[in-house]
C-alpha cells in the first residue's frame, strides 16, 4: 500500500462569500477551492455573479461577508497596496478585452508588472519580449495596442499575465471576443499555467467549449453554486 500523496494547500479558497451591489445580491454564500495545477471553470448565465466572484478572488473588491484566502493570505487582512503587490507578483489577470494601456507599445505594456515592482527597464523589456515571442507576437512588440487586432491584443494581455509565472491565474471571459481558432490559442496558453507550471487557473466563461477544457466546472446561478462537477 502506498501513502496517499500529500494534499497541497489550496491556491485559492473562498468561504461563504456574499456580496451585494446596492441591495441587489450578486453572490450569496459561494464557497470554492482551487488547488495548484487545477483548472476550474466558473460558468452560468449572465448576471449570475461570475465576474463578482473573480473580482473577490483577485482582491479587487472586499466581499461583505465570507473570506477569501489567496495563496495562504486572508485578503481581508491586507491593505490595498499589499493586495496590489500580491496581484502583480503572484497572480495573473486576463480580462475580455481592452486591458492594455493605449499608446504604450505592447513590449512596455507586457513589461508593466516587472516595472511596477521597480524592475530594471532593460531586463523587464527582455522578459516582455520573450513573453511576446511565446505568444507569437515578437514582431509586434513595438506596436501600440490600437495598431493590432483584437486577437493580438488579447495574446499580448496573456503574455503580460504570464510574465511573472503566476501561481494563480484569473481569467474573466478571456476568449469571448475572439474567433474559435484565436480563442483556442489563448486558452491553450492560459491552461499551460496549470498543465505545465503547476499553477491554479480560474476560468470565468459562458463558453461551453472553453469550460470543457477545465478539470472541474462550478456552475453559478443567481449568485449561488448550482452544480459542481469533475470533468476529468
Amino acid at each position: 500500500m502506498t501513502a496517499a500523496p500529500p494534499i497541497p494547500d489550496p491556491s485559492l479558497e473562498l468561504r461563504a462569500v456574499a456580496h451585494s451591489y446596492a441591495r441587489t445580491p450578486a453572490l450569496r454564500g459561494v464557497s470554492l477551492t482551487l488547488h495548484p495545477g487545477e483548472v476550474v471553470a466558473v460558468t452560468g448565465p449572465s448576471g449570475c455573479g461570475k465576474s463578482t466572484l473573480l473580482h473577490a478572488a483577485a482582491g479587487l473588491l472586499t466581499p461583505q461577508a465570507g473570506s477569501v484566502t489567496l495563496l495562504g493570505r486572508d485578503l481581508a487582512r491586507l491593505d490595498e497596496t499589499e493586495r496590489a503587490v500580491l496581484r502583480r507578483r503572484e497572480v495573473g489577470i486576463v480580462l475580455q478585452y481592452g486591458q492594455l494601456v493605449p499608446d504604450l507599445p505592447l513590449r512596455d505594456n507586457v513589461a508593466l508588472p516587472l516595472l511596477l515592482d521597480g524592475g530594471d527597464l532593460a531586463a523587464a523589456r527582455t522578459a516582455a519580449h520573450d513573453a511576446l515571442a511565446r505568444v507569437g507576437l515578437a514582431d509586434a512588440a513595438g506596436a501600440v495596442p490600437q495598431e493590432v487586432s483584437g486577437g493580438q491584443a488579447q495574446r499580448a494581455a496573456v503574455a503580460r499575465a504570464l510574465l511573472t509565472s503566476p501561481r494563480v491565474l484569473l481569467a474573466d471571459e478571456p476568449v469571448a471576443s475572439l474567433d474559435a481558432t484565436g480563442g483556442r490559442q489563448v486558452l491553450d496558453l492560459l491552461l499551460d499555467v496549470a498543465r505545465r507550471d503547476g499553477g491554479a487557473v480560474l476560468l470565468v466563461t459562458h463558453d461551453n467549449t472553453a469550460a470543457a477544457l477545465a478539470d472541474r466546472e462550478v456552475r453559478l446561478r443567481d449568485g449561488a453554486v448550482e452544480h459542481e462537477a469533475v470533468l476529468r
Binding site: P45, R184, N208, A214, A229, L231
Partner: protein
C-alpha cells in the same frame, strides 16, 4: 449510407474491410461501421448497378471481393452531393427524450433539473475528450469532423441551459 459507400469506393477499388477502415477514419467520432452492414450495402450497390465486382482476391487468407464504383454510381453520388441535406429534425435524440420525460414525470423542477445538469456534465466530459486531441496531429477533414461533434455538443448544452432556465418558470400543466 449508400452514397457514403460510393464515396468510399471512389478513392479506388477496395474490399469490404478497407471500406470499413476508411469510413472509421473519415468519421472518427461516429459509431464504427459494422461488417455486416458494409457487406449488405456493397451487395445492394452491385444489385442496383451502382458498383461492380472487379476482382476476387485470395492472398493466402480468406477470399476477398474487390468492389469498384460504376459510372451510374458516380452519377448517383454527384446527384446526392448536389442535393442539400435536410436540416436535422430535433426531438429524437436521447438528450431531448430524457429531459422531456423527466419534465413530464417528476415533481416540477427538481428532478428534471438534476437530469439536465447531469447531462450537462456528461456532455462537457465528452467535449473535453474531443478537445484534448492535438488538432495539429489530424488532417483537415478529421479536424472538421471533430469540430462538428464539439459544436453539436455545444448546441445540446445550450438547449440544456434553456431547459434549466425554463424549468424555473413553471408553465401550466399539459393535459395528459
Amino acid at each position: 449510407m449508400t452514397e457514403l459507400h460510393l464515396a468510399l469506393l471512389l478513392r479506388g477499388p477496395a474490399h469490404g474491410y478497407e471500406v470499413k477502415q476508411a469510413y472509421d477514419r473519415w468519421f472518427p467520432d461516429a459509431k464504427p461501421l459494422a461488417f455486416g452492414q458494409v457487406y449488405a450495402t456493397l451487395g445492394r450497390l452491385v444489385r442496383d448497378g451502382l458498383a461492380e465486382v472487379v476482382e476476387t482476391r485470395s492472398e493466402g487468407g480468406p477470399e476477398r471481393t474487390v468492389y469498384a464504383v460504376t459510372d451510374e454510381g458516380r452519377e448517383r453520388l454527384r446527384a446526392w452531393l448536389a442535393e442539400p441535406a435536410p436540416p436535422a429534425v430535433a426531438g429524437t435524440e436521447d438528450v431531448v427524450r430524457k429531459t422531456v420525460v423527466a419534465l413530464r414525470t417528476s415533481a416540477p423542477g427538481r428532478a428534471a433539473r438534476a437530469v439536465a445538469l447531469d447531462q450537462r456534465t456528461a456532455h462537457l466530459r465528452r467535449m473535453r475528450e474531443l478537445q484534448a486531441r492535438d488538432p495539429a496531429a489530424d488532417d483537415v477533414a478529421t479536424r472538421l469532423a471533430h469540430r462538428y461533434a464539439v459544436l453539436h455538443l455545444d448546441a445540446d448544452l445550450r438547449w440544456l441551459d434553456e431547459a434549466v432556465e425554463a424549468l424555473d418558470s413553471p408553465t401550466p400543466e399539459e393535459p395528459r
